[in-house]
């Protein structure tokens, strides 16, 4: 204690004298600092939990077989795979790997490594099992050729292979590190994991041997800063270079955008996402007011969609009309017209038809914590009050809400889904297939063989044109059942210092890639 006391006096003066208190440990011009709201949970595919920060790190430390081409993200390109073929029946995928790709520990990438990685992830990661259980067999045809055979045809499988869970790990490193591999991930990617301090930072270093070329940065540092205003302050002061805003459940970006728009040191990048947030009904409940489709339709007419987008989001979110976002290749343009319009008079008529007197219905509305959800809930509450439905807001924590959801103990809730792979299957199958009704993140559809058959057919049809037609029909069918009021799709908003170039922002999953980034 006495050491601290003696050095306290002069040391307290010094920070006031120096303008920036950075240690001279690295070159700032080649170090990129990214601010994130929480610590990463899984740093390698085997422990990945579809949690954004860990997943983004995986995308930068590892490579996948294929990935989506920026900036449109609707065509696939080979990453570790140089080329691939898909069998006509849609069940067999054969990949030819690139030559000369090395893992960070110097061992070479080969088909055996690919087989090892995917099988390992399937065995140890419960989050991956839903997608990977479709795999029947993985065969090493030759050191450069690997074949994956599925149980059923599944065109979206290519999208699954582009996800962080499908990243390829170094078998030698896994053998050497065992359990510790989770804390010392070794892949082929543009950045090498160097160190992490719990709840503080994660440090990655450039991989000079990267097969696409060495990154233009020396270091990539993730700083964990939970508070949104603090992140913004750090960005303005130059303490961080990049913050990614929307998609998060907590902060409202509109105000930040306003404030930062005039700041010449900061650029704002807005990218449409495939996230859908909705007011959903418990579609599995056969009793209660919500079981009546007229009541559900009434609620969908009661909401002032444009007012919500304008007033709360200030145009940092897009309107969602149905089960898919408008930027999806399978989006049915007719949905724009079929979607319920804001019409309180119609809402009141429908409620009267259903025999509900104004003021007689009281419903709890469950949603997540945070200012954003609170604001949306309050807005919806006011809208519904206008048509005579009383709503009490219950903001709960994530696990409690999920528990309510899976047990079906709710009538209406504000919820959302962020697709983790780039295919309409992510929204449609997961959302509306009745056999999945008891898992979280679904609309809890009751058993409907016809609808289920359609969903599975669209999932398994090989021809893209045919799939598109099937998804068009599905969107109309689902919308007709009024499963919820589709509210908004938040844009992905990245705030970056003006001197940052070459940032790649994926939309599904919404993660950034830093290989091409440089600072002017």
């Amino acid at each position: 204690m006495s050491i601290t006391r003696r050095s306290l006096a002069p040391a307290i003066v010094l920070p006031f004298v120096s303008v920036k208190v950075f240690a001279q440990a690295a070159n700032p011009a080649r170090t990129l600092v990214v601010a994130v709201p929480s610590d990463a949970v899984g740093l390698e595919p085997g422990t990945n939990r579809a949690e954004p920060i860990g997943s983004e790190i995986i995308l930068n430390v590892f490579d996948t077989l294929v990935s989506w081409t920026p900036p449109e993200f609707n065509t696939l390109e080979g990453r570790l795979a140089r080329s691939w073929t898909i069998s006509p029946d849609g069940r067999s995928f054969e990949f030819e790997l690139r030559e000369g790709v090395l893992f960070h520990d110097g061992t070479a990438l080969d088909a055996a490594a690919v087989k090892f990685s995917l099988e390992r992830t399937r065995a140890m990661n419960p989050f991956a099992q839903a997608s990977f259980n479709l795999i029947n067999e993985i065969t090493v045809v030759s050191p450069r050729l690997v074949r994956i055979v599925l149980k059923e045809p599944y065109p979206a499988f290519m999208s699954i292979l582009a996800q962080p869970q499908s990243a390829i790990v170094s078998p030698a490193a896994v053998a050497r590190l065992g359990d510790q591999f989770a804390n010392n991930p070794v892949g082929t990617g543009p950045f090498i994991f160097r160190s992490r301090q719990a709840d503080t930072n994660i440090v990655l270093e450039a991989n000079a041997q990267y097969f696409r070329g060495a990154p233009k940065l020396d270091r990539l540092v993730y700083r964990i800063i939970p508070n949104a205003s603090t992140r913004r302050l750090e960005l303005e002061n130059g303490g961080v270079d990049i913050i990614q805003q929307a998609g998060q459940l907590a902060a409202i970006p509109a105000e930040t955008i306003q404030a930062l728009r005039n700041n010449r040191n900061i650029t704002i990048i807005e990218v449409p996402s495939q996230i859908i947030r909705q007011l959903e009904f418990n579609n599995n409940k056969t009793t209660g007011p919500i079981a009546d489709i007229r009541v559900r339709r009434a609620i969908t007419h009661a909401i002032d969609y444009d007012g919500l987008l304008q007033g709360i989001f200030g145009n940092t979110a897009d309107r969602v009309y149905g089960p898919l976002t408008s930027n999806s290749w399978a989006f049915n343009p007719r949905i724009r017209d079929l979607a319920p319009k804001y019409d309180p008079a119609q809402a009141r008529r429908l409620l009267a038809e259903a025999g509900i007197r104004p003021g007689s219905l009281t419903l709890p509305l469950y949603t997540f914590q945070g200012a954003l959800w609170g604001a949306v809930a309050t807005f919806v509450q006011a809208n519904l009050a206008d048509v005579g439905i009383n709503v009490t807001i219950q903001q709960t924590e994530f696990p409690a809400l999920r528990a309510l959801h899976t047990s079906g103990n709710f009538d209406i809730a504000l919820d959302g889904r962020q697709p983790w792979y780039n295919d309409p299957d992510a929204h449609i199958t997961i959302g509306y297939l009745s056999s999945l009704a008891d898992t979280a993140m679904t609309f809890r559809f009751p058993k409907d063989d016809a609808l289920d058959a359609q969903i599975l057919k669209a999932q398994q049809t090989v021809s893209m044109e045919e799939r598109k037609a099937l998804y068009f029909k599905l969107q109309e069918e689902i919308l007709a059942r009024a499963p919820g009021a589709f509210l908004f799709s938040p844009k992905l908003i990245v705030f970056a210092r003006a001197n940052i170039r070459g940032l790649v922002i994926n939309s599904a999953p919404p993660l950034n890639e830093y290989w091409g980034v440089s600072k002017q």
């Binding site: 409202i252 306003q258 007033g311 945070g370 924590e397």
Partner: protein, 282 residues
């Protein structure tokens, strides 16, 4: 023993306590009577006029959803005062009863109750409150219950101390020998003596109760939207503090002034109790 007249005289002459009472009176009148005259709704949304600065339409401006800040201040104040008083009343009732029982009973019961109180005191009170609010669901009632539980041990301790010190006093034995029932004597003397310190404890506990419930509200574990509550209002508007700082600062200052008022009164009462200090402070 002090008389009511003495108390009033003291409040008039002692500047500290007097100021506290005046401040509290101002707050009370504002929040209890104010909404009667200022009839603006605290929950009505004016999305198009969000974050408006103070002006003729909205005397203290509007918050992030366009609600009137002054209205939310006044209604939130009601909530805060009601919450504070209920919490302290609950903690007082249970804490003093348990403390008295512990003090009179002595022996194993006393020992056990005191260890229980120690155990409760060794929880950071915020943790206990967060855990309880998380266990029983986020709501103002649950937050109040949590805070009340964390404030009980202190009342129990003071009450127990009083009970013990009185039970060994000679005049108790004297009264018993005169034929008066022991229980009644104890209670009468204990209450007479304990009222002072307990009142001081209670006013300080009011301040603590308000701070803790506000903290819970700040963390989202107290009153649920759209209810106006000072702690929650600070946290809802924190994102906008750079462009519209007053929206978060106004309810925060409300909390500050209210707790200050209670602390001033508590200080004043403490001075009034203690004759040795009076000549030195004034």
């Amino acid at each position: 023993m002090r008389s009511m007249g003495g108390l009033v005289h003291f409040l008039r002459t002692n500047k500290v306590a007097g100021f506290g009472v005046a401040l509290l009176a101002f707050i009370l009148i504002a929040v209890l009577v104010g909404p009667v005259f200022y009839e603006v709704s605290p929950i009505r949304l004016n999305i198009l006029k969000r974050l408006a600065p103070p002006g003729p339409d909205f005397w203290l401006g509007t918050d992030s959803l366009g609600r009137d800040v002054l209205a939310r201040l006044l209604h939130g104040g009601r909530v805060t005062l009601v919450v504070g008083c209920s919490v302290v009343a609950l903690a007082f009732a249970f804490g003093v009863t348990i403390g008295m029982i512990s003090g009179f009973a002595g022996g194993w019961l006393d020992w056990f109750i005191m260890r229980l109180a120690d155990a409760m005191l060794s929880f950071p009170s915020l943790v206990l409150a967060i855990a309880l609010a998380a266990a029983f669901g986020p709501s103002l009632e649950n937050a109040m219950l949590a805070v009340a539980i964390t404030l009980m041990p202190q009342f129990a301790r003071v009450a127990r101390g009083q009970a013990i010190s009185v039970s060994v006093k000679p005049y108790v034995d004297a009264a018993v020998t005169l034929g008066l029932p022991r229980q009644r004597i104890l209670l009468r003397y204990v209450f007479a003596n304990a009222v002072g310190p307990l009142m001081v404890q209670a006013t300080l506990a009011l301040g603590a109760a308000i701070l803790q419930t506000a903290s819970l509200g700040f963390l989202g574990l107290g009153a649920q939207p759209p209810a106006a509550e000072w702690g929650a209002d600070v946290s809802i508007n924190l994102d906008f503090v750079r462009s519209a700082p007053w929206v978060a600062l106004v309810p925060g200052t409300g909390i500050l002034l209210t707790v200050m008022a209670f602390n001033l009164i508590g200080d004043g009462l403490a001075e009034w109790m203690d004759p040795r200090r009076r000549p030195l402070i004034g």
